[in-house]
């Protein structure tokens, strides 16, 4: 692991991606303290102010400071995405590994069900779930987590299948180890790496999916400053106040790029073949 980390920080992807993600995390942690203005403070006089020394990102239709809102919004957007992906990752890893280890009809049943869920495009799936549970960021997290799980299961399972045939698993069986020991101690540790890679890339998707849900009015709710929500609220002002949309839109893109780069960096670092 450590030497693969070395390769990660040596690769440009790893550096840029890691940097962007780090920045994002900083925003998440320190956002409220860094924000120059109260994110929801209205100002009748300061509406539609273009970016300037006072308001770096400009102000919106209610005279709220876009920069501050973006800073606060990082929390909703990123934490939610990370949370959703993390849940999906854990579920996926466990289900996938178990499915691969048990094999036979259990495996078949699990995977076909996953296929079924995958057959419903994740956005649509999230849409249905949110419509069912009611709109709120928490439900959006649940929706995305569920929508992501099958993908994770697939990845985890494919790796687990390879691991399953390894002699150390056979050795464990010959020794008479318990199923739980084999799955948890012998197999899982050898599966996490690829799952983490997949997960990192998925975070980027989650960020965008969140934005899209909010755009459709199904994700975070006003006055929250979740980035997707900001963008969708700003769309109607695009012609009069483009910055309102561009700034949070840019942030979404940057964070997504960050996680994509990091994910690919990790993949290369963990994949000996692409190491040169």
């Amino acid at each position: 692991m450590p030497d693969s980390l070395k390769t990660l920080v040596r690769s440009p992807q790893g550096v840029v991606g890691g940097g962007l993600c780090l920045l994002a995390i900083v925003l998440v942690v320190l956002g409220p303290w860094l924000a120059p203005f109260e994110p929801n403070a209205l100002s009748f006089t300061a509406r539609y102010q273009p970016p300037g020394p006072m308001h770096w990102f400009g102000t919106d239709q209610m005279g709220r400071d876009v920069l501050s809102r973006v800073m606060i919004g990082a929390r909703d957007t990123i934490v939610m995405s990370l949370l959703a992906t993390a849940i999906a990752m854990v579920l996926g890893a466990v289900i996938g590994t178990l499915s691969a280890y048990l094999g036979g009809w259990v495996d078949e049943a699990i995977m076909r069900t996953m296929d079924a869920i995958m057959a419903i495009p994740s956005l649509l799936f999230a849409l249905l779930i949110v419509a069912t549970l009611g709109k709120s960021d928490v439900n959006a997290v649940a929706a995305i987590a569920i929508a992501f799980t099958p993908g994770m299961v697939r990845v985890a399972r494919s790796v687990a299948l390879a691991v399953r045939t390894q002699d150390y698993v056979s050795a464990a069986i010959v020794r008479g180890e318990s199923t739980s020991h084999i799955v948890v101690r012998e197999m899982l540790p050898n599966i996490v790496a690829p799952v983490i890679v997949e997960g990192t890339v998925r975070v980027a998707f989650a960020v965008m999916l969140f934005a899209t849900l909010s755009f459709l009015g199904l994700g975070a709710q006003p006055p929250s400053s979740e980035w997707g929500l900001m963008v969708s609220e700003a769309r109607s002002h695009l012609f009069t106040a483009p910055w309102m949309m561009i700034m949070p839109g840019l942030c979404i893109a940057l964070v997504a790029i960050g996680f994509n780069l990091l994910g690919d960096g990790l993949r290369d670092a963990l994949n000996p073949r692409s190491r040169t």
Binding site: D3, K6, Q166, D167, Y168, S170, A171, I173, V174, R175, G176, E177, R185, E186, P189, N190, T276
Partner: protein, 561 residues
């Protein structure tokens, strides 16, 4: 030797890695005369494959050459233009790889892959190329070449692939061919056929060849001259027939010593006597009609009238293993020898019964646990059988956790002792497998098995992945452990030479049948079964090459009797 066809002069090569520069070849000098076969022998890491790549001018991005020259028919290769080089490769300078299935593109037919070569280097039309291809395939006696051309690689056996490839290489009228372990991936008998083919073709074409291999015995049989490569330096160059008779360099001597010689028994007669009187006791392990079927037929499959996928990997098999006895099981891949190991350790379901000390293994959990402790398994590849994410300590400790610690020992003490028993530094306990060498890993695997204080250890090809010298030490270790604990071994291998050295009795397996079961002596005096004889004939041994030495006039091809 100015008439040399291929000449390498003081050639050095190194790779730049994260940990600095790593020398691979150091002042290598050798030459191949027209029609001559030069063998290059070395253990893993000796740089023999890098040498091949260097000659083919196919070097990794991080390779750095430190002077020296490589000349083919007087033409300097190290400074050759890419276009000229492409014209050379596959044409005058051909190469045959170790693994034929890896060398063939899985999504293209054999035909298209042969034809593109012929059209390129023989400058003939596709039709003509096709004719040649069919002809060549024909005279490397592959059945109906026509259809062969239309087949995909996965539809051919390993032997067929390699023969086709060799045929193709020769068909392009090369001046010099480089063979990189061409038979290592094949079974003994296939290998023998390929070698025979090789011999015949070069008889006919008089091609010069550089033959790279780790197998001293084999090389000594086919090569006119043998170069011994150690850590990138050629330490000895001698005629193939001499190299065993009178190795000069100590390294070569150690190599020769390590090569299993069926004539030199490693288990002393006294021990055999010892285990003879052990025969009075009920046999330690008794196998009655053990048979294994693979694959099952699903209702869906039956419903779709698909061919029955079930096949019998092991036909009813009987065997008795006495306390402290070493029983060898020898056979090619697919002979069912590994299946036997799986069956005995419960990795696959089997019919028939297993008796331990004359009693059927009880199906109660305790009974099975007891059996599991007393019958241990060591796998072929330590990289596979040792979980890369666990420390050596944990790996060995697992046995103690499951089967209990000996009195008055802490876990760490026990682990340390186990490591010492296999002659490893106890401090390795805190390391991860990938930090150990192949031999060390296998020792750890053995230590883990013996931590269970077993009565019988099943060794499934445990030395196949190791260099000869390492193999020799591991074997020595096993015999030593046996001496100490009186453990019996079921020793599964494809190497009939090795088994003749260490086994008291040998079971020969062929296509799931036990075709012969006889004591080592009997085997030496003359095997009963035809297959056994074929196997022995196909296996190059020091003995056979020694015989070659006796007879100066026989051609340096392999001898069938």
């Amino acid at each position: 030797m100015n008439d040399a066809l291929l000449r390498i002069d003081d050639y050095s090569l190194s790779y730049t890695t994260a940990h600095g520069s790593l020398p691979v070849l150091d002042g290598v000098t050798l030459s191949v005369a027209p029609g001559e076969v030069v063998g290059v022998v070395g253990e893993s890491g000796s740089g023999k494959t890098s040498l091949a790549w260097a000659i083919m001018r196919y070097l990794a991005g991080n390779a750095i050459e430190h002077g020296g020259s490589i000349q083919l028919q007087g033409e300097e290769l190290t400074t050759l233009k890419a276009a000229r080089l492409r014209a050379l490769r596959g044409g005058r300078l051909g190469m045959v790889f170790q693994d034929p299935s890896a060398a063939l593109n899985p999504t293209l037919t054999l035909g298209s892959q042969m034809l593109e070569m012929l059209t390129r280097h023989r400058g003939v039309s596709r039709g003509e190329a096709r004719r040649i291809a069919i002809e060549t395939l024909g005279d490397v006696d592959l059945k109906n070449p026509e259809s062969m051309l239309a087949r995909y690689p996965h539809e051919l056996s390993g032997g067929e692939k390699q023969r086709a490839l060799i045929a193709g290489a020769f068909a392009c009228r090369p001046a010099c061919l480089i063979f990189d372990e061409p038979t290592t991936a094949l079974d003994v008998i296939n290998a023998a056929q390929v070698l025979e083919l090789f011999g015949r073709l070069r008889e006919e074409t008089g091609v010069a060849a550089l033959y790279i291999s780790h197998d001293l015995a084999l090389v000594s049989r086919i090569a006119d001259h043998v170069c011994v490569l150690e850590k990138g330096r050629i330490v000895e160059r001698a005629p193939g027939r001499k190299i065993f008779a009178a190795p000069d360099h100590p390294y070569t001597q150690s190599l020769v010593a390590a090569v299993p010689n069926p004539r030199r028994r490693l288990v002393a007669e006294s021990e055999i006597a010892a285990h003879a009187n052990a025969r009075e006791r009920p046999p330690l392990l008794t196998l009655r009609g053990i048979s294994v079927d693979y694959g099952q037929r699903t209702t869906l499959a039956r419903w779709l009238k698909r061919p029955d996928p079930r096949f019998r990997a092991l036909n009813p098999f009987d065997l008795e293993i006495a306390h402290g006895e070493i029983v060898g099981v020898v056979g090619e891949s697919g002979s069912g020898k590994s299946t036997l190991a799986k069956a005995l350790t419960g990795l696959v379901n089997h019919r028939g019964e297993i008796l331990l000390d004359g009693e059927a293994v009880s199906s109660t959990p305790r009974g099975r646990a007891d059996y599991r402790r007393r019958v241990q398994l060591v796998f072929q590849h330590p990289d596979g059988s040792l979980n890369p994410r666990q420390r050596i300590g944990e790996l060995i400790g697992r046995s103690y956790r499951l089967y209990g610690l000996p009195e008055g020992e802490t876990l760490s003490q026990a682990v340390a002792r186990s490591l010492e028993e296999v002659r490893l530094d106890p401090t390795l306990a805190s390391r991860y497998p990938h930090e150990l060498s192949g031999g060390q890993k296998q020792r750890v695997a053995i230590a883990r098995a013996f931590a269970a204080r077993p009565d019988v250890v099943i060794c499934d090809e445990i030395t196949a992945a190791l260099d000869v010298s390492v193999q020799a030490t591991v074997i020595a270790l096993l015999l030593d452990l046996r001496r100490r604990h009186g453990t019996a071994y079921l020793f599964i291998t494809h190497d009939i030479n090795l088994i003749q050295q260490i086994a008291h009795r040998v079971a020969v397996m062929y296509r799931g049948d036990r075709v012969e079961l006889s004591s080592a002596e009997e085997l030496a005096d003359g095997p009963k079964h035809a297959y056994t004889r074929a196997l022995l004939a196909a296996t190059p041994t020091i003995a056979s090459s020694a015989r070659v030495i006796d007879d100066e006039f026989s051609a340096p091809t392999m001898d069938q009797e």
